[in-house]
Subunit: 131 residues, 2 copies
DNA sequence: ACCCAAATCAGTAATGATTACTATTTTATT
DNA sequence: AATAAAATAGTAATCATTACTGATTTGGGT
């Protein structure tokens, strides 16, 4: 399961170079610094391929863009409805996957998204209509 | 926070009449049995409005369609990569939201999706490349 | 090193779920 | 009933993503 093409390597590196959860277009622009001739289609195709093999994670937070995550360990995504930032929170153990297993489901990947207001926005009282 | 229009009521009822996680188009066809003249745009607009107020849940499993859920209690969505079905699993307590709280994040909604193979597909050995 | 078949590429066109728009109808209030 | 605000049906536009095509690159066998 080696990554053959220079383009795929660059895409994977670009994704792993950040702790944000970039979109295909962000990665496209990032990789273009290194390979100016790369095509957006190539980025999409490789991201899909990498997600299919489980090397990366495709995570959808409902903003109309597919986001990608180089960290495939089960963790929480805290999505702020105010600033749009997605924060990671490491899990000691994935109790939910274990629960799913006990109910006959065979888990492969988990995507946990909690929507709300992040600490920073809360502090600035930027929360809209919230508690 | 009353639901004024007949269309919005019908949309909400259609969504609550099923334990599946339908798409906007499914709901559109369902409501058309009752209100044949309803517009797809109306369905989208009301689903967005209902999701914004938290009366329903918009859940994205990465198949290119937005899915909606009338059950807003925190629960697991077990998404089978084989048959595409989304199964619910009730949670006794939402430990993950509590964990997020402890880290300064103010949770409002949680969407937990576990991808894998469901019991039925597993039994039929329909799992592709799986364990 | 060279050849060849398979895989991947860049570039562009097509797709299709969702959103925006507009003129009309419905609703709530006085 | 009159008025203003909100919601509707129908249609057109948007735009992230996918499909397609001919050119290029890759890796294994000789």
């Amino acid at each position: 399961m080696k990554n053959y093409s220079r383009q795929r390597e660059a895409i994977l590196q670009a994704l792993r170079s950040t702790d944000t959860h970039p979109t295909a277009n962000w990665i496209y622009n990032k990789v273009r610094e290194q390979i100016p001739s790369i095509s957006l289609g190539t980025v999409y195709r490789n991201l899909s391929a990498l997600a299919a093999t489980g090397e990366i994670l495709a995570i959808d937070v409902g903003d109309g863009f597919e986001h990608y995550d180089g960290d495939i360990s089960p963790h929480l995504h805290l999505s702020c409805r105010c600033c749009g930032n997605i924060e990671d929170l490491v899990l000691e153990s994935d109790a939910f996957s274990q629960l799913a297993s006990e109910h006959g489901f065979s888990p492969e990947t988990s995507i946990y998204v909690i929507y709300g207001i992040c600490k920073k926005c809360k502090k600035q009282n930027l929360n809209i209509g919230g508690n």
